[in-house]
């Protein structure tokens, strides 16, 4: 069946460093991939989405490229800020939205 895998449960970085959060997926359909961000005690919000192969999509300094050849949609940022500390979910559009297990990003001063 359809599935989403996020390999890192917890990522801790110092402010100003680059970050990449991994996301791979499995589906037999044409994929629609998303990144949601959830700050502490808040609701998840859509950060990025894409269904176009090899096209970079960007928002709020974060970017991701859907690679159908490797079934990946990794989230990146060139310089993390303290306010980026949050829980990040990769999600796959199927008959329902399937969320990955989430990656907690903590940015230290």
């Amino acid at each position: 069946g359809d599935s989403v895998t996020q390999t890192e449960g917890l990522v801790t970085l110092t402010k100003g460093l680059p970050v990449m959060l991994n996301c791979t997926y499995q589906t037999t359909y044409s994929p629609f991939l998303f990144w949601y961000v959830q700050h502490l005690n808040e609701a998840p919000k859509l950060l990025l989405k894409s269904s176009t192969d090899n096209k970079r999509t960007e928002h709020q300094g974060f970017y991701a490229t859907l690679h159908k050849s490797s079934s990946s949609f990794h989230l990146q940022k060139s310089s993390v800020q303290l306010s980026d500390s949050a829980l990040y979910f990769c999600a796959l559009g199927s008959w329902q939205l399937i969320f990955g297990s989430g990656t907690q990003l903590t940015v230290m001063p």
């Binding site: 629609f32 991939l33 998303f34 949601y36 808040e42 609701a43 998840p44 919000k45 859509l46 989405k49 829980l87 979910f89 999600a91 559009g93 199927s94 008959w95 329902q96 939205l97 969320f99 990955g100 297990s101 989430g102 907690q104």
Partner: protein, 115 residues
């Protein structure tokens, strides 16, 4: 603009007691509605979805039920709480079928603690 409101914000309940959580969406006619459950720091598990008034589909069996009595209202309930029901309950809506577009708008959530 559309708004989504969940109530209550938090509940502390005893095992075996009943529960009712609510969600109201304003500014959008006939939205697709969803209930999600999240353990602390955990992933988002879809519980129910509803495409129209009076129709609710269950995604997982967790001794919970849901109803959509009005176009803009979605209710989650159980007659007997279990310890495993503790967590964060999120109501969400989408203008289109959420799986294909992924544009879900979440409410602020209801935190449930079962003791």
């Amino acid at each position: 603009a559309q708004t989504i409101h969940q109530w209550p914000v938090a509940e502390i309940k005893a095992v075996g007691s009943p529960l009712s959580l609510g969600c109201t969406i304003k500014g959008k006619s006939s939205p697709n509605l969803y209930w999600y459950w999240q353990a602390t720091g955990g992933t988002l598990q879809q519980l129910f979805y509803s495409i129209t008034v009076g129709q609710v589909e269950s995604v997982v069996q967790l001794n919970l039920s849901a109803s959509r009595p009005k176009d803009d209202q979605f209710i989650l309930s159980t007659e007997k709480l279990l310890l495993s029901h503790s967590g964060f309950y999120l109501c969400a809506w989408s203008p289109d079928w959420g799986g294909n577009t992924g544009q879900l708008y979440f409410g602020e959530g209801s935190k449930l603690t079962v003791l």
